[in-house]
Subunit: 87 residues, 7 copies
């Protein structure tokens, strides 16, 4: 079974906890916090897509629609919700 | 009798309950849940249409307009309400 | 006397009650119901028009502006309010 | 003295009362009523203009800006406020 | 000293009181009144400008930004705020 | 040190008090006042820019973002906030 | 580890306190204050990008999404949030 995002949409596995520390980026754990990290799992075929599978990305925390795959939290985001790639 | 969606619209039969488990995707059953699965029954003729009859799709739960055909719940969605194809 | 809709507008005679049952489509009679059937009486001359006189159509229940012709309820809709053609 | 509407604007004399009955169209006199009839008095020079002087038209009741000419109620409408021509 | 409106802007001297009666147009003096007359004093250089200096115009009463020149009330309007020319 | 506005932005020194009287334009000192004068200090490089350094301009009073340079009040405006040039 | 902003986005290190005094620009420390200074750390590859790494910039104080890198406050801004370059 595979999920194929439509157009400019992107399927992302949410990264939380220790992994963030590993990347050296600390997302502020306050009411003002607004970004979150994830791993790209699948992408649509729109030409606006500028990330690829396995990219580690930052996205706007309040963006996207949530779903669980085999019990693991994922998001379907639009390309415009993605702020940066972490290399 | 046949329903022919106009333009970028799509007629979808809503999938609920066990079928979702079968696909391995568990849509979270909470207040935050936002996606739902369906089967494409008919599509409009707009060039933006990127799904075809019998595709299993995920769509934004609050999108579309509801109708019943022979007692079964369906939705008329726009192409932009469709998040992903499940293969 | 004839009503000629302007541009992308469409004059529709509202269909209610038994007629809906005849087509096999039951519009749910609840607070959530959102679609309704009608018969196209006249159309504007915009190129976006994709229905023709006598087409049986489904439209968004809350769309359009109401008027009565010889005591019968009609609506003037825009092409974008029309969801599907029922064949 | 003459009023020349600008661009896509149209000057309309509001028709009320018996005249509506004459045309066979009864605009429902309820809280839901939304259309009204008028006679085109002058039009702007925009290419979107699709009515001409003396056309009897239906327009969205809440559209336009009101003025009185020699004590008679008129409206300046935009072309997009006009729903249909009554022939 | 001269005021040169920018782009699609227009400088207008507000006309009030007896002058309106002279033109034969009575703007209703009620809470619903929405149009007002003025004289064009200067215009911007945008191609959308379709009035010229000394034109007597009608404009949407709540449009524009107010200023006084030598104690006289003026407005800077946009071309889209102007409803009609009074000839 | 120099401030270079980006794109369609403009740096303006706010003019207040006696200088306004000198220009013959009295901005009404009431709750309804909406325009204010300034001197253009620097401009962006967008093609929409139609003012130049040292132009005396009128702008919408509530537009722009405020900053102080050596204790003097300035604003960064967009070209669309500028209403007129005072010659 | 490196952060690569997407498209028209820009990573900025927030400048506060004495540094502002050094540039001669005093951002008013009041409820009305609206601009803030920063240093460009990384930029996206969109053609609208008109700043480069190490540029000292002014941006709208309420724009962007906050993150910390090695304990230091940064922002991801869009090009349209940047008001001026300070040279």
């Amino acid at each position: 079974m595979k999920i194929k995002p439509i157009g400019e949409r992107i399927l992302v596995k949410i990264q939380e906890g220790e992994e963030k520390t590993a990347s050296g980026i600390i997302i502020p754990q306050t009411a003002q916090e607004k970004t979150q990290e994830g791993i790209v799992i699948a992408v649509g075929d729109d030409e606006s897509i500028k990330v690829k599978v396995n990219d580690r990305i930052m996205y706007d925390k309040y963006a996207g629609t949530a779903l669980k795959i085999d019990g693991v939290e994922h998001l379907i985001l639009k390309m415009t919700d993605i702020l940066a790639i972490i290399e």
